[in-house]
């Protein structure tokens, strides 16, 4: 039973919409006040959430303006992550929200909604990247930044070597939060380029939440099948740009398809007659008259 409840708490964290993790945690705290250890036990779920959602954090120093992202690809273990561009590593406290007292919750929620997530990295140390693909990483980072500026109004991106699979992870996250208008959105792209086989794979995920007098969620996942591209940053980025454009145009067609197709066939706007129902006529019920049950 208790272990089921720990699983439940982890599932709630995993399902948190973009920019609403702090709100979800506040709710979980209220529901688990009898057993605060449940949230403590869900610590791995916070790490999983932050790494999968490419949570962005502000790197101290340099005016505190630099955003870096959290992923499994730049994890050094023990809650430390690194950034290629600034050649530094930093600590990130996944469980900061677990410890925040309820009175901090509002402040937390505000911080989380700020541009770039507002969560802070700490204990910054210098970190020199050692990779045989150093040149490709640096040119990919540059072209990725240019690509991001062309298509993403507000995004954080990075390129990391992945030792275990001898590939390069090309990551981008774009967030837009508007809680005062009851909507939040996130788009994530994760590509893996394998220099030895020159194969590019990847996923594009979009998550939009609208919650004024309701709860509407758009969740999309597109997987890019392995595509062969020569190991040139500009060629790789050209392919990525083409894939993303094609996907987004297809998504817009998806909206039209559902609107014109399923939505219309579920319920008509008006009956075929273009007239509203004449309720006085459709009921055979009259005061004092017995109606039989069963079929008409």
């Amino acid at each position: 039973m208790a272990s089921n409840n720990a699983v439940a708490v982890s599932a709630f964290i995993e399902g948190a919409p973009p920019g609403e993790l702090a709100d979800v945690v506040t709710d979980i705290k209220a529901l688990t006040e009898d057993d605060p250890t449940l949230l403590e036990k869900a610590r791995p779920a916070f790490q999983k959430y932050n790494e999968e959602q490419l949570t962005t954090v502000k790197l101290p120093g340099g005016g505190g303006k630099k955003n870096v992202l959290i992923s499994s690809y730049n994890s050094l273990g023990e809650g430390r992550y690194y950034d290629v561009e600034s050649q530094s590593s930093f600590a990130f406290d996944h469980a900061a929200q677990v410890r925040a007292r309820p009175c901090d919750a509002v402040r937390w929620a505000k911080l989380m909604r700020g541009a770039g997530g507002g969560q802070k990295a700490s204990d910054v140390q210098s970190h020199t990247l050692e990779s045989e693909h150093g040149d490709l990483i640096s040119s990919l980072s540059k072209t990725l930044t240019t690509h991001a500026h062309e298509h993403y109004p507000s995004s954080t991106s990075a390129v990391f070597p992945v030792a275990t699979t001898a590939s390069l992870a090309i990551l981008l996250v774009s967030n837009k939060y508007s809680p005062s208008n009851f909507w939040n959105g996130r788009l994530r792209t994760t590509y893996l380029y394998h220099p030895a086989t020159t194969a590019l794979t990847g996923t594009l995920k979009c998550d939009v939440h609208y919650y004024e007098d309701g709860n509407v969620r758009l969740l999309t996942t597109k997987t890019l099948p392995p595509t062969t591209i020569s190991p040139s940053a500009s060629e790789i980025m050209k392919t990525i740009a083409k894939v993303e454009k094609g996907w987004q145009e297809e998504l817009n067609r998806g909206f039209s398809r559902l609107s014109e197709g399923e939505f219309k066939s579920l319920r008509r706007q008006l009956p075929v007659t273009r007239q509203k129902v004449e309720w006085e006529k459709v009921t055979s019920y009259r005061a004092g008259k017995e109606i039989g049950g069963g079929r008409r």
Binding site: M1, A11, G15, A16, E20, D23, V24, T26, D27, I28, A30, L31, T32, L38, H151, Y152, P153, S174, K176, G185, L204, C206, V208, D213, G214, N215, V216, R217, L218, L219, K222, W247, E249, E250, L251, R253, F255, S256, R257, L258, G261, E262, F263, S265, L266, R267, R268, Q269, V277, W279, V282, T283, S284, Y285, R286, A287, E290, I291, G293, R296
Partner: protein
């Protein structure tokens, strides 16, 4: 011990977590805070289940309002399925309200055919001290294929007797699930629920007036909600995606914006 605060937190949580997992998350919350179970089951709308009436062979919908323990009352036979053992037969409406329930059920069946051209509908009424209350349920799913869809309407109302009029209070929820997939698109799931309320006084001459009044309220509400869903699902959600990623290059868009601004400025001069 559960509190009002916990109930509000449970509702807030369900308003944030993926609507396609509402049923699973409801079960999880009830396990965490068992005291909230009854209150949550009667306040949280879930996709309706369909069952076939053993006596009449007609389909009916299950909800908390025709449930007694593990049995549900068929609106067509007025009997609980499976039958409730023992002296307690399960709550049924009074003779007068049952007659109204059957009349409304018949009218909604015609309404369903006109607007949904298929699907299943059910109506359940119950007695109140100063009037009666009820729920009008409609459900339709489209055949499973490359694209999929499901619509559930849940209209809960109260009718309070006044002199020559009735005061109606209607709370309506529509649960709309849509999904589509293709190689180029991948998987797309657009699902959710929206709730709206309305209160209105309407004239009553005899009991048949209630059927006309509730019917009109439900029809107007569904029209309003269908428009709202269209706006949110295909307008708002699509706009947010456009805010996250721009198909045309932003430098181009910004240049156009700058040119436009320059034109406005020059006209001002």
């Amino acid at each position: 011990m559960s509190t009002d605060g916990q109930f509000d937190s449970a509702l807030d949580l369900l308003r944030r977590l993926p609507p396609s997992s509402t049923s699973a998350n409801l079960t999880r919350i009830c396990a965490l805070a068992p005291d909230l179970t009854e209150e949550l089951l009667s306040s949280v709308d879930q996709p309706l289940e369909v069952r076939r009436c053993k006596k009449t062979g007609r389909d009916y919908l299950l909800c908390d309002y025709n449930r007694d323990g593990d049995s549900w009352r068929s609106p067509w036979s007025n009997e609980f399925e499976p039958a409730i053992e023992g002296e307690d037969e399960g709550a049924k409406p009074s003779e007068r309200v049952r007659k109204l329930e059957m009349g409304m059920g018949e009218a909604v069946d015609i309404y369903r055919e006109l607007y949904y051209e298929g699907g299943v509908s059910s109506v359940y009424f119950w007695d109140l001290d100063d009037g009666f209350a009820g729920v009008v349920l409609l459900k339709k799913t489209t055949p499973t294929g490359k694209s999929d869809g499901g619509w559930d309407s849940i209209h809960v109302f109260e009718s309070i007797d006044r002199a020559r009029t009735s005061h109606y209070k209607l709370t309506s929820t529509v649960i709309l699930r849509l999904s589509t997939s293709s190689d180029a698109l991948g998987d797309m799931d657009l699902s959710g629920n929206m709730t709206r309320q309305i209160e209105q006084d309407m004239p009553v001459t005899d009991d048949s007036s209630h059927i006309v009044n509730v019917g009109k309220l439900v029809e107007d509400m569904e029209l309003k909600m269908r428009n709202l869903l269209q706006e949110v699902y295909f307008g708002k959600a699509k706009d947010v995606v456009g805010d996250l990623r721009s198909i045309p290059p932003l430098t181009e868009a910004n240049r156009e914006k700058a040119t436009h601004q320059e034109m406005i400025n020059s006209m001002k001069r």
